[in-house]
Amino acid sequence: MSEQGQRIEVVTDQDVVRVRQLVRTLAVAVKLSLVDQTKIVTAASELARNTLVYGGGGWVEATSVDNGRRKGIRIVFADQGPGIADLDLAFTDGYTTGGGLGLGLSGARRLVDEFDIVTAVGEGTTITVTKWCR
């Protein structure tokens, strides 16, 4: 079961701040622990920035979820940018094509419980992450 998600169009730096704020609000509402709130907001910040910088913009949708046993938060990051040709490379710590630290994708994956990526060159990238309450 999941509630209606809240969507934010990601077009500017300011929208990345809005994504952090939305995810923080939801994480508090589903009662994630303080450390898990911090982890999911950090992961969302990394992935939303990638949507903006590499995806050329897109949208983020965050939803509180409940699998009957646990509550959690699920976030989708979608863009119609260039896609990622070599996923293994993109997930290598330190790999960046944009002068970053190359820790966004790999680090975000470590910070969440479930991480799913669908990408196609020339079509875009959609990443879905979930963090469950312990």
């Binding site: 952090r20 950090t42 910040s45 970053g100 630290l101 966004g104 680090g107 470590r110």
Partner: protein, 141 residues
């Protein structure tokens, strides 16, 4: 765009980040600090991040860059007040912030800078003394 204020307290510049910075604001802070270090001749920078509930790789990189720029401009940087949950998350993200000195709060950060500056000044004096002593042995003519 908001701006993060830079305060001068004695020989130290204090930056207390109180807002969730968009990336441009972080970059602007980097520039503002470099300008203020040069304008004031301060030898220390304390960056208080106790109000930040996350530090992602962009802010982490900005802090590291500020520390590097300060160093080149003869100022030391200490990042203070990192929350425990932020520290845990940073390490899992893969960011260990090498090259950044930290202290638990502003007061301890200021103390650390004052101590290092005193050590540094001592060394400078020692070095001067030695130079002086060696001068007669230097070949002239």
């Amino acid at each position: 765009m908001e701006r993060v204020p830079v305060l001068k307290i004695g020989d130290i510049l204090l930056v207390s980040i109180q807002i969730d910075m968009e990336d441009q604001v972080a970059l602007q802070l980097q520039e503002d600090l470099a300008d203020r270090i040069v304008a004031t001749g301060c030898h220390g920078v304390v960056i208080d991040i106790s109000a930040l509930d996350i530090v992602d790789s962009f802010v982490g990189r900005t802090l590291a860059t500020i520390a590097a720029i300060s160093k080149v401009l003869d100022a030391d940087t200490v990042v203070v007040g990192m929350r425990p949950a932020v520290a845990i998350t940073l390490v899992e993200l893969g960011l260990s912030l090498p090259g950044i000195r930290t202290a638990l709060n502003v007061e301890l950060g200021m103390e650390l800078l004052a101590r290092e500056r005193a050590d540094y000044d001592d060394e400078e004096e020692d070095a001067d003394g030695e130079d002086g002593a060696e001068t007669p042995a230097v070949f002239t003519s």
